[in-house]
Every structure is written in C-alpha cells, then in structure tokens.
Symmetry: C2
C-alpha cells in the first residue's frame, strides 16, 4: 500500500528541521558572482543533500518499522544518506545500488555499514517506480517518492530564505524529483514569488520532455553519463503530481555546460561538485533562468577524484 501523494506542508518542513538539526550541516550559501549564489550541499557529512531527507524519513518511522532495519534504492547519494541515518539509530541498512555508481559512492555506503545489492540502472529504476524489490527484508525508505524524505529536503529552502531573503530564483537538479519538490514546497509556502526551476542534462531530461508533452513520460533517448546523480529515465505519475505545483519550469543543459560549471565551482568556491551537483549552475549560466539573485543548489560532490580531475583540469 503506497500512501497517496499529498502536498508538503510548511509545518512538515519545520518539524523536519528540528528532527535533523543534530545530524545535517546548515550549509553555507556562498557568492558565485554578482547574480548567482551557491548552496553548498556537497559539504554535508555524506557530501550530498540526501542526508536531509534520509534522516527525516528514518526518524519518522515507528520503532517497530525501524527495528526491522531499512532498505533503499540508490545511485549512491540516497544510499549514503539512509546508511548514515540508520547508523545514527543503530539499525541495519541495505542499499539496492546501481552497479555503475562511482567507486567513491559504493565505498562510502559500505564504510557506513550498509549492505550493497548491486543491480542495473534499469532494475533500480523499476524498483523505484514499483516501490518494491524482491527478496529484501526490512522497511523500505523510498529515495524520492516519500513524503518525509521530501520534507527533509525542504529544510534547505528555509535556510536559503534566511540567508538571502531577496532571492528571486532557485535552481535545483532533477533526478527523481524529490529535491526540487522539497525545496519548491518550502519556498512557495514562504514566498510564492520565488521562481523554482529544474535542471536536467540533455542525456536524461524526462521532466523537460514531460512538460513538453503535457504528461509524465519516459525520456526517449536516455544515456548514461558522468552526471550519474541526476537525470532519471522517466517522470513517474506520482512525482509529476508532486513536482508540477511547486516548479516553474526546467532548463536542459549539455554535458559540456555541466563540465564547465564543475570547473567554475571548483575555481570559485574551491569545492568539488559531482556532475549532478553542477547542473543547477550550468542552467543558471544559460541565461534562461531569468533575474537574480539566483541560488543554485550544489546537490552533491561524490565523484571519484581522478574523474573530477579528468573533467575539470584540461
């Protein structure tokens, strides 16, 4: 039984903030240029924003649910988030992980004590759509289609408004859609004038395609790329219901633009962003996002250092 989709209320986000305060970092918002700011979620203990939602979701489980342990599906960052949260509660975690995830993500999930079940991208996406994977015990914590998980991400929106009350536009990468739903819900509740824009790579832009077609779709020409932490195969019906009311559009960027944005983030903020983490800045730099101040969520930094060097130093 999957619970029906309901809007993320601002109270859900405020309560999440208290639940996760001792675990997550209140990340800094740093200036990129005259118009653009970066919300550095790559500094989180797991080096990705997913720890916000994961911590809230695990905290919201009943004692009986938690006692069974938890499992999730992940391209790497949600798995680290859930494993980290599970460790805080002293319960076991299993991650159905995309087998092509960067080594750094797989290593870190294991280091956090998670059991890894490697699967193909296709099978992981199928499990995320169906909310099920055969043979696993424990309580399922969906990495994006989960109310509490999304409410946890919304805490970022509260922080952005505190640090930059004059913000006009916030851009966040779309993978499953949980990040933008959370952030968008918090922002729109507090200030409906803030524009909330998605960012997708040209190789995996199902939300842009779905908006074009007017309904949730599979992306026809999906390709794997170094932007492994975002870019789903499809927008699910449920995530469509979640995202649509709290977003104002999406920008599709090329892989070269993502790579440039990774370099610029390194040069300016001296932090390491993974491909997905640089999507929002790449989108801002297209000029299509409208007026500033623009906040770009740097969603994560989990990329193998050698791959980072290869992409950024040339």
């Amino acid at each position: 039984m999957i619970e029906p989709v309901r809007p993320i209320a601002i109270e859900d986000v405020e309560q999440a903030r208290q639940r996760i305060a001792a675990t997550v970092l209140r990340t800094p918002l740093v200036r990129f240029d005259e118009r653009i700011w970066l919300k550095l979620e790559n500094l989180q203990p797991t080096n990705a924003y997913k720890i916000r939602g994961a911590t809230n979701a695990v905290a919201c489980l009943s004692d009986a649910e938690r006692a069974k342990g938890v499992w999730t599906i992940s391209a790497g960052n949600a798995g680290q988030g859930v494993a980290y949260a599970a460790r805080q509660f002293g319960i076991p975690a299993t991650v159905v992980a995309i087998e092509t995830a960067p080594q750094t993500k797989l290593d870190r999930m294991r280091a956090l004590g998670a059991t890894i079940v490697p699967v193909s991208y296709q099978d992981a996406w199928k499990a995320a759509e169906s909310h099920s994977f055969e043979g696993l015990e424990g309580t399922f914590v969906h990495p994006f289609d989960n109310h509490d998980f999304i409410a946890g991400h919304g805490t970022m929106g509260l922080e952005i408004l505190e640090d930059l009350p004059e913000v006009r536009t916030v851009i966040a990468a779309i993978g499953g859609g949980g990040l933008i739903t959370g952030v968008g819900s918090a922002l729109k509740a507090r200030n409906p004038d803030v524009k909330v824009i998605g960012a997708e790579p040209e190789t995996a832009a199902p939300y842009a395609y779905s908006l074009e077609q007017g309904s949730p779709r599979w992306f026809p020409d999906w390709q794997a790329s170094f932007v492994d932490g975002a870019g789903g195969k499809s927008v699910t019906e449920r995530m469509w219901q979640r995202m649509r009311p709290v977003t104002d559009g999406t920008i599709t960027v090329t892989l070269d633009e993502v790579r440039d944005a990774m370099r610029l983030i390194a040069e300016k903020s001296r932090t390491i962003a993974e491909g997905a983490g640089a999507l929002a800045l790449a989108a801002a730099l297209t000029g299509e996002a409208g007026e500033g101040p623009i906040v770009c969520v740097v969603s994560g930094g989990n990329i193998d250092l050698s791959k980072f060097a290869e992409l950024v130093v040339s």
Copy 2:
C-alpha cells in the same frame, strides 16, 4: 613608527566580528573523523582566512588613512584579502607580491582591482620585517604584524567555540604568525584549557626552530615548496612576542604528509585546500597533537587546479 606589540583583547575580537560580519563567511566546521573537525576557511569569498583580518584592518583605518589607498605584502592570500576589503571601501590597493605565487592568486588579486608589484620572496620577507618598501604611496597594512589584522583572525576562534564548545585542541598553520596569534588569543581568553598548536612544513619551520633555540630565529635551511601560503623564513622578534603567550607548541610535518592531508580533505570534505591549508590536518594526523576533539583550520584553498590535481590524484 611601529606601534608596540600588545595582547589581543577579547573585546578587540568581538568588535572585529561586528565590523567584518557583512563581508566574511561564517564558515562551517565539518567533521573529518571521530576526533578531528575542519574549519573551512577555504570557503571564504577570497578562499582564505586573510579576508577576516584584512577587512577589520581596513575598517579600523581613519578616513584620512583610507583616502590615501592601502598597500600590503603578500604571498597571495593577504593581498586578496586587502584588495577585497579595499574594493568594499572604494579605495585603491597595491600588493607587493611574491613573484612565484600561484597564478590563481595573482590573477585574483588583479581581478579585485589591485596593482601588483612583483618581488622576490627574499625582498617580500625583508619588507614584512622592516614594515617598509620604497616608492609606494598609501597606507601600509601589514599582513600579519598588525594588531587589527590579527584581531580579525581571532573571530574564527569565537566561531569554533560556538560550534564545538567541547574542543580541546586547535591547530593552525604558521606563516607570519598572525593566524595562530589571533585564533589563540580568542581561544585562550574564552577557555584557557584549549591547546593551541602550530603547524609548519619541514622546509620552512622557523617557529619550531625558534622554540628549540629559545629565541626568535631565521630558519637555516628554508626551501620553497607547494606550501607557498605558510612557512616563513624567520620568526620576527615582534611575532615571537605575539605568538608565545597564546600557543602551546608546534608540529613539523613532511611535504608528503601535507600532500596526503590535501587528498584526505578533498575526499572527506570535498573541498580544495592549498598546501598551507592542509598543514593543520597533517599535523593532527601525526598523533602528536594530543587529545580530541581537535579542530584543524583549513586556512585557504588557492592553488592552481592543475597543481592540485597533480598533487592529489595519483
């Protein structure tokens, strides 16, 4: 006329904090492991802690002094700090810069509108010792032997105590000695039990040598290295007076240890530290710093990305 050395009072630091609040980032303290935390000064707008002291020092000048413009001496980070502060006040800045500074540091000083006067390391150090350089107009802002500059750095100490009240040891790199004097003064005023330890590279460890000899000395075998932002040629008599009362010792590390620490900072915090920025962690990891929690100041991140990749990815 150089004003006599006097202790940095906690009130000086508290006032500095107010003066610089709108300009500097309140940097996050992130966990490195069970025992060690990193204070990420590499996230500052100029990607180094020097902006704290520079902003306070320029703000403390009289209107008449500021009207003449300012100049400083720098291996790169102080110059960026002073140039940034000068730009905030709309006044010109000149930097007597070590000509072998990384390109990224020189470029950024120019981008901030500073006029660069390139000199040898030897000549820059002489100017720092004598507080003079012929032919320059404007008000001199010494990059470390300056009360207000040091008080500005002290603000970091207040933040560390707020974020981790149970801290036992704080480690900071020693270049000129301003950073450790500022941080040490604030920490000792608030909690005399906190240990304050310096970190120097084996190629430039004049404080370790001076402590051994019992008086301020020139370091006999100084060598240039990628740790360009720390490691002076000598401890001056005045900096000896400043540092001694607020420090509990220093740890000397090898260049290989610094390089390892740079890699570990990148892996764990996903930030880019320059050599000097990794000194404190390298010192902590020797095990000589005593008990935790230990805070390591990651003082800066201004290193050419290609050099970073060369040192860290292998």
